[in-house]
């Protein structure tokens, strides 16, 4: 008994000494600014800055001495702090937010076949371009929700991806992951969007979706500066997004939504009256 206690104690002591020695001997001097940066970065390690995680970003910024690459999730607040630590002039990070531009859930849009495979939009897209008849709408299998490092995307019971405007940091990971290219990065203060991604002709869109854009021009006639219609699909001109709200109630297929007055059907998110500015990710 005593022997084993002594032996174990000795082993412990020896290991402690070795570790202590190694820590001293192999100590790496890091720039204090790197640590200071790490302390104020969101810590989500999302990679949206183009570096492998927040530590990579801190290192990159210190090494290059430039803050041309911004931290999108951190937004303006974090970039100001970064500029201060680096003693550089702050760069403007236009705050952005992702929006799924489709409301064609399984109740509103038609499926061309019965999909029974993997719960992954990228896999489904490989089978005859996905089960949805609409060539561009949300497949609803939640790849974006799995990818989002901030847990900002929920899937509605009828399989539509909806992005929480409070949680999304605009990191853009979902935009890259979505095989349907149905997620767009948009200015944070623009709350009105045309929620459709199909460039098909109106008559065809009506066949497969109740809430699709039919390019009828009514939105553009109502608020001429705020909308443009390209290739059979309307979109908001974000420089003039404030006027866009006027057309929301005029759209015959209800595919324009002002998120200030609510999220798409089935979403559990509460209606945000004003876009919430993000600082540090929780």
């Amino acid at each position: 008994m005593l022997a084993s206690i002594v032996t174990l104690g000795l082993i412990g002591l020896l290991a402690a000494c070795a570790l202590g020695f190694a820590a001293k001997k192999f100590h790496v001097e890091i720039d204090p600014r790197e640590q200071a940066l790490l302390d104020i970065l969101p810590g989500a390690n999302c990679g949206a800055c183009g570096y492998p995680g927040c530590a990579g970003y801190a290192k990159g910024v210190v090494a290059s001495g430039s803050i041309a690459d911004i931290c999108p999730p951190g937004g303006q607040t974090v970039m100001q702090k970064v500029a201060k630590i680096m003693d550089l002039a702050p760069v403007t990070a236009n705050p952005q937010i992702s929006v799924v531009i489709c409301q064609g859930d399984n109740k509103k849009a038609v499926q061309k076949y019965n999909y029974l495979g993997l719960t992954d939009c990228r896999a489904a897209q490989k089978l005859a371009d996905g089960p949805k008849t609409c060539p561009a709408g949300c497949l609803g299998l939640g790849t974006c929700a799995m990818i989002c490092p901030f847990g900002a995307i929920e899937m509605t019971p009828d399989s539509l991806a909806v992005i929480d405007r409070k949680k999304c940091t605009g990191c853009g990971k979902c935009v890259k992951a979505c095989p349907r290219f149905v997620i767009k990065l948009t200015p944070l203060d623009a709350t009105t969007h045309v929620l459709c991604n199909s460039h098909d002709k109106g008559a065809l869109v009506r066949k497969y979706c109740q809430v699709g854009c039919i390019a009828c021009q009514i939105c553009k006639k109502t608020a001429p500066g705020a909308y443009e219609i390209e290739n059979m699909l309307a979109s908001v001109v974000y420089d003039q997004h404030r006027e866009a709200d006027q057309a929301v109630d005029k759209c015959p297929t209800h595919c324009i939504r002002n998120f200030a007055s609510g999220y798409p059907d089935g979403s559990r998110f509460a209606a945000p009256t004003v876009p919430i500015k993000k600082t540090k990710a929780a």
Binding site: K112, Y113, L116, G117, L118, T119, D120, R122, A123, K126, L127, A128, D129, M146, I147
Partner: protein, 440 residues
């Protein structure tokens, strides 16, 4: 069963073979459909490029799509008639892809053909004729044959294997071809032997086709070609598994059969090669098995490439109810079709129709770790582990677990009691690994 004495490979399984409906039926000729839809992509590799215009009159065998690049083949008119459209049409892959639509004139007039004596041609000339005839692997993979026959100089080939296994349930097209056109197949084999200068030639046939084995054994006597009966087990006809069973050589992970000095060709491809080289006729038709529980009169049909699937169904007695599943190819590896409007192409070895009752649909449940997928995987992978990596987006882990070695035979999905889409997960893993490698 004496199958234990027969050559085979580890893993695999025994799905019901369901071949009795057509195994005894001679190949019938399909009459011309109202229109032929010829996709410019009927092979693996770059799609051909259309070289005819709407309104043009074309002759049977005339090139209507030019090969684009080395891994590509030309497309030919499968009958004479008028080009009525060059536009995207539904493709067996379910996508809308560029196709040439021909309205047959009913005359079947051939373009000028240049028959040749293979004895008098060099290997390079033979390969050129094979390329110009648009020959692709007819077992279903549709890989351009001329590419397989042109291995780099540092990869000497000493063995040729003819694949007459036909291990997919329902399909009997190759079986019938071996019975009805064995001389054609042998002529093709001789051309292949001349090109590759191999020491050894095998024909591998599953032991459930004793008539074909006996016939070919008789015809091959004294030719140096060895006809070998193989154990009845799926996927005996998969390239790497067939090579292992016959030669005992294992194709290393991530490489092609030429790495171990082997070229494998399907028996139907061999027959098409003979037609192409000797008669000068390109690949414009093929044999396929039309079967499945919904088909009233299952048949083996020789059809024109580009024939709409609906036409083939009508020739086999039509159907009363809309099918719940349409498969081009066999039930294990075939491609599900969205509609019968899609055409049968150079790679369509079969057309199978099923009603809802025929489909063993079960809800997906969590993995019970029974290990069946691991047991049956002929590539020796851990399908359930790789599927989990895919769910978690751990692509590097999937790569390290050899996901790229998956041959997509479907054994894992077939045997999984939890109905997990394993083979789709593996395919997804492979796609994402390739994407990552391209990006890296």
């Amino acid at each position: 069963m004496s199958s234990s004495a027969l050559k085979t490979f580890p893993g695999g399984l025994h799905p019901p073979d369901s071949k009795q409906a057509t195994a005894g039926k001679p190949i019938e000729l399909s009459p011309l459909p109202v229109e032929l839809i010829l996709p410019l992509s009927q092979h693996i590799g770059a799609p051909a490029e259309a070289c005819v215009e709407v309104g043009e009159f074309v002759l049977k065998g005339q090139m209507i799509g030019r090969a684009k690049g080395f891994v590509s083949v030309p497309i030919h008119a499968s009958t004479s008639g008028e080009v009525i459209a060059v536009e995207p049409r539904i493709h067996p892959s379910g996508r809308l892809l560029p196709s040439i639509v021909i309205k047959p004139d009913g005359e079947e007039s051939w373009c000028e053909l240049f028959p040749a004596d293979p004895e008098k041609l060099t290997a390079a000339e033979l390969i050129e004729r094979i390329l110009q005839a648009g020959i692709v692997g007819m077992g279903g993979a549709t890989f351009p044959t001329h590419v397989k026959l042109s291995p780099p100089d540092d990869k000497p080939i000493d063995t040729l294997i003819l694949n007459g296994v036909e291990c997919e349930p329902f399909l009997t097209a190759d079986h019938r071809l071996m019975l009805e056109a064995p001389k054609q197949i042998l002529a093709g084999i001789n051309i292949l032997r001349k090109i590759l200068q191999v020491e050894k030639t095998w024909i591998g046939i599953e032991a459930n086709k004793p008539d074909a084995i006996a016939l070919l054994q008789e015809l091959c006597a004294g030719t140096g070609i060895e006809v070998v009966p193989l154990a009845v087990k799926y996927p005996q006809g998969a390239e790497k598994q067939l090579i292992l069973a016959l030669t005992g050589r294992e194709v290393p992970s991530g490489s092609l059969p030429m790495e171990v000095g082997v070229v494998v060709q399907n028996v139907a491809t061999a027959a098409a090669i003979a037609t192409a080289v000797i008669e000068g006729k390109p690949l414009v038709d093929r044999v396929g098995t039309i079967s499945g529980p919904l088909i009233k009169k299952p048949k083996n049909l020789r059809f024109h490439c580009g024939t709409p699937l609906q036409h083939l169904v009508d020739l086999c007695g039509g159907i009363e109810h809309p099918p719940a599943k349409i498969l081009a190819g066999g039930p294990m590896m075939g491609q599900t079709q969205l509609t019968l409007e899609a055409p049968a192409t150079r790679g369509t070895s079969g057309l199978l129709l099923f009603a809802k009752e025929d489909l063993p649909l079960r809800p997906q449940t969590p993995c019970i770790r029974c290990g069946r997928c691991v047991q049956v995987c002929p590539a020796g992978l851990l399908p359930t582990t790789i599927a989990a990596y895919v769910r978690l987006d751990l692509i590097e882990a999937a790569e390290q677990t050899s996901a790229m070695d998956c041959i997509e035979c479907g054994c894992c999905s077939y045997s999984c009691p939890a109905a997990i889409p394993l083979v789709q997960s593996l395919r997804q893993a492979k796609g994402m690994i390739l994407e990552k490698r391209r990006g890296a």
